[in-house]
Amino acid sequence: MKNKYSIFTLIKNSFSYHENWQKAWGNPKPKSYYDIVIVGGGGHGLATAYYLAKEHNLKNIAVVEKGWIGGGNTGRNTTIIRSNYLWDASAGLYDHALKIWENLSQELNFNVMFSQRGVMNLAHNQHDVRELKRRTHANRLNGIDCEWLNVDQVKEFCPIINCSPDIRYPVMGSTLQRRAGTARHDAVAWGYARSADSMGVDIIQNCEVKGIKRKGDSIEGLETTKGFIKTSKIGVAAAGHSSVIANMAGLKLPLESKPLQALVSEPIKPIIDTVVMSNAVHAYVSQSDKGELVIGAGTDSYVSYTQKGTHEIIEGTLKAVLELYPIFSRLRMLRQWGGIVDICPDASPIISKTSIKGLYFNCGWGTGGFKATPGSGHLFAYTIAKDEPHALNAPFNINRFVSGDLVDEHGAAAVAH
């Protein structure tokens, strides 16, 4: 059982110079058999394990992670959380997640630093204005808060944006979702890991999956770098490497894995207290609690697993950032990195059973999976435990690519692809 984090344990541990804190999760050796194995120890995988244990009362669960937990895309994203998607199916999915975010720190007894500082989506041309106004109405009809701001209101809400009509892509308005914001990405993985571990989930790090053993149309187990693990249910939450795992089971997925980049500036005093996204010129900016500007760049066009992208992408993003925020012109960039994102043709995720019994996939989150972490884990756990989808993730089944019932969210996905 885990000790509860509180002001009192903080004071108590200060007397021993914070050297005797209880370990947040264990380092178990894999058992020979688990009822369910989750592949991927990022936010989505750990959340899935947590909800399997908590809501479905399942005990014998393992999460296998090839590196360290939260070391993949969970630690590489720009931490933005919002639910202002166009279609009913997506609104249901992403707002389900947002509602869990609102109480997540209390639920996990771990401060995920969820900050509802608002997310703006800027419009730069007449088409943007029409599309974003339409999305505002669609959001409201789905019970999701969304406002339309004219240029004066944009200037008032975020004064550092260059609202001059003379720039190449002038700001013509913006949407604002006030319940949206950011969270500390590492803390999400750590919080879920700690809570899952305390309910008996084995979190096995440095354990890479090398093969999936099948018997006909069902699952027998996993070959890993730490030996064979027998299991009858596998839930894959492997982000960019989903296709690699699928190939091991002889499945093909409608995914392409591409590098997505982000960068942070040197830390500066608080200057931007919201998140500003701009799809048309491809720049999105927020400021971390450490003071760094967090800037999201775009994807490269080609399939790659190298976790690095091209300089043209960064150059394009920084050009747009500088035109929108001339005040940043002398700011230096501190770090830049890439992650591999698995993109679906309709820019919507897959949370689904597959043609193989006992094999489930949670993938295709593409450039925007972080925001959905709690909801995705919650619904994936439901799908695995009950062997049928929850009403909220039923539209995100893998068969939509056969039936044609796609959930086209290219307009609401932040990164154009």
Binding site: H241, S243, V244, N247, K252, L253, P254, L255, E256, S257, S301, Y302, V303, S304, Y305, T306, K308, G309, T310, H311, E312, D342, P345, F401, V402, S403, G404
Partner: protein, 90 residues
């Protein structure tokens, strides 16, 4: 990040080129006879391989011609470039 050797123009920076997706996906000969599963396979399912990937590129800021390439997606190293219609190298 990499230099591409266009089979018509020679070595150029990759920024002159556009990516055209997985190569050797044949358009169905009799589209009216395809099942929904076969359409899904043709339209959406991709190998998305980590390793040698056969793909199409267009020299969009050069000769504007299409060609194929075998590239290792785990390190972006290009193994060979070959013309449309040619068999992929083993």
């Amino acid at each position: 990040m990499f230099i591409i050797k266009c089979p018509y123009c020679g070595e150029r920076d990759h920024s002159e080129f556009s990516y055209g997706g997985e190569a050797h996906i044949n358009r169905p000969k009799k589209p009216t006879e395809l099942t929904d599963d076969q359409w899904a396979e043709y339209l959406f399912m991709r190998k998305n391989i980590k390793g040698i990937h056969y793909e199409r590129w267009n020299h969009s800021h050069g000769c504007r011609r299409w060609f194929n390439m075998a590239r290792d997606t785990s390190n972006d190293k290009i193994h060979s470039v070959y013309k449309i219609g040619e068999k992929p190298p083993v």
